[in-house]
């Protein structure tokens, strides 16, 4: 994936410089990946909920820095991802996937789609959760993430 140009996004992920990165490079114990599209009505509608999830994590001292989030804009250019970020005031990094390369690798899922990884340093992360569609309860989802990734 292409590293975010925004310095706050880079800092949040524990990255530096430019070029590409892999999920293993992200400094976290758990990673929530949202596959979205600027063109997806459900992703638009769900954006405030996903933002609330991010806020909840960042405002909880024992979760901040341990659980991180990224969005991957399936088929979205850098401009389109920035448009979505600006429109919905998304504070976590959104990564463009203009040529659907990542989307194809993941299996051409519909959007929004959520994947939770239990991070294991430079080892391959373990997929502990995946779900198509918005979450009925953000609090319940966060509880599930904490349980599945053994965050204390």
């Amino acid at each position: 994936m292409v590293k975010p140009a925004d310095s706050d996004d880079l800092k949040y992920l524990g990255l530096s410089g430019s070029g590409t990165f892999s999920v293993e490079d992200i400094k976290a114990q758990a990673l929530i990946i949202q596959i979205f599209s600027m063109y997806c009505p459900y992703c638009q509608k769900d954006a405030p909920n996903v933002n609330r999830l991010f806020d909840l994590i960042e405002k909880t001292s024992h979760l901040k820095g341990k659980i991180k989030m990224i969005g991957i804009g399936a088929g979205n250019s850098s401009f389109e991802v920035k448009t979505f970020k600006r429109k919905y005031q998304v504070e976590f990094p959104l990564i463009p996937d203009g040529d659907f390369k990542i989307h194809r690798l993941i299996g051409e899922v519909r959007t929004p789609y959520f994947i939770v990884l239990k991070m294991r340093g430079q080892k391959k992360p373990e997929i502990v959760f995946s779900k198509l569609g918005a979450h009925e309860s953000i609090d319940a989802f966060l509880g599930e993430v904490i349980r599945l990734t053994d965050i204390r």
Partner: protein, 195 residues
């Protein structure tokens, strides 16, 4: 890529065959379409021409004529091939969140397909409340698309963006590969040129 393999394997096992990045908003109601000939028509207009006028019925119930915008607004005509098909269903919802970019460029957007009004009504209802008019070029079938030279041999329209300035002159034409969505930034850059 190797680093993604466990993830790939897992998701492939559960979601193989979901083509494109379709929104879950449409559930399983999008008709699967094979890859098509990128362009299947011959343009009858060019940049610099006066845009052919037309009058069509909108899903909103209004009747919309191109001439009403002359002297007032730049106009973006977004033709898409057909309702309930993959790429089309994930095109206008993106335009729906960038009204501000159209406003900044004194522009309005008009969506057009060759589908009839009831079909367009049900389809666009899945996209949320659209701020722009969606017109039906259903009868005489594809007459406006044909007037512009973007009616395909199967009776659908091309995926085309046509930008018309406030004088009614065509300033940009993109008869896009029907299988792909035109990037938003290209349209916005073209609008900025004529702002």
């Amino acid at each position: 890529m190797k680093r993604w393999m466990p993830l790939v394997f897992f998701v492939l096992m559960t979601h193989l065959g979901q083509a494109w990045a379709l929104s879950d908003a449409y559930k399983h109601n999008i008709y699967p379409v094979e890859r098509q000939k990128p362009v299947d028509s011959v343009l009858k207009v060019k940049v610099g021409d006066q845009a052919p006028d037309f009058t069509l019925r909108a899903v909103s119930g209004k009747t919309v004529s191109l001439r009403h915008f002359i002297g007032k607004k730049n106009v973006v005509l977004s033709f898409v091939p057909a309702a309930w098909t993959p790429v089309c269903s994930d095109q206008w919802p993106g335009y729906n969140i960038v009204k501000d970019l159209f406003d900044e460029n004194q522009a309005i957007l008009i969506g057009i397909t060759v589908d009839n009004i009831p079909t367009l009504y049900s389809w666009t209802r899945q996209m949320g409340d659209l701020w722009f008019e969606v017109l039906s070029d259903f009868w005489p079938h594809g007459a406006v698309a044909s007037q512009y030279g973007i009616l395909r041999s199967d009776g659908t329209a091309e995926r085309a963006i046509i930008i018309i300035d406030r004088k009614g002159v065509i300033r940009y034409i993109d008869v896009h590969d029907i299988n792909e969505r035109p990037p938003l930034e290209i349209m916005i850059q073209q609008l900025e040129k004529i702002r």
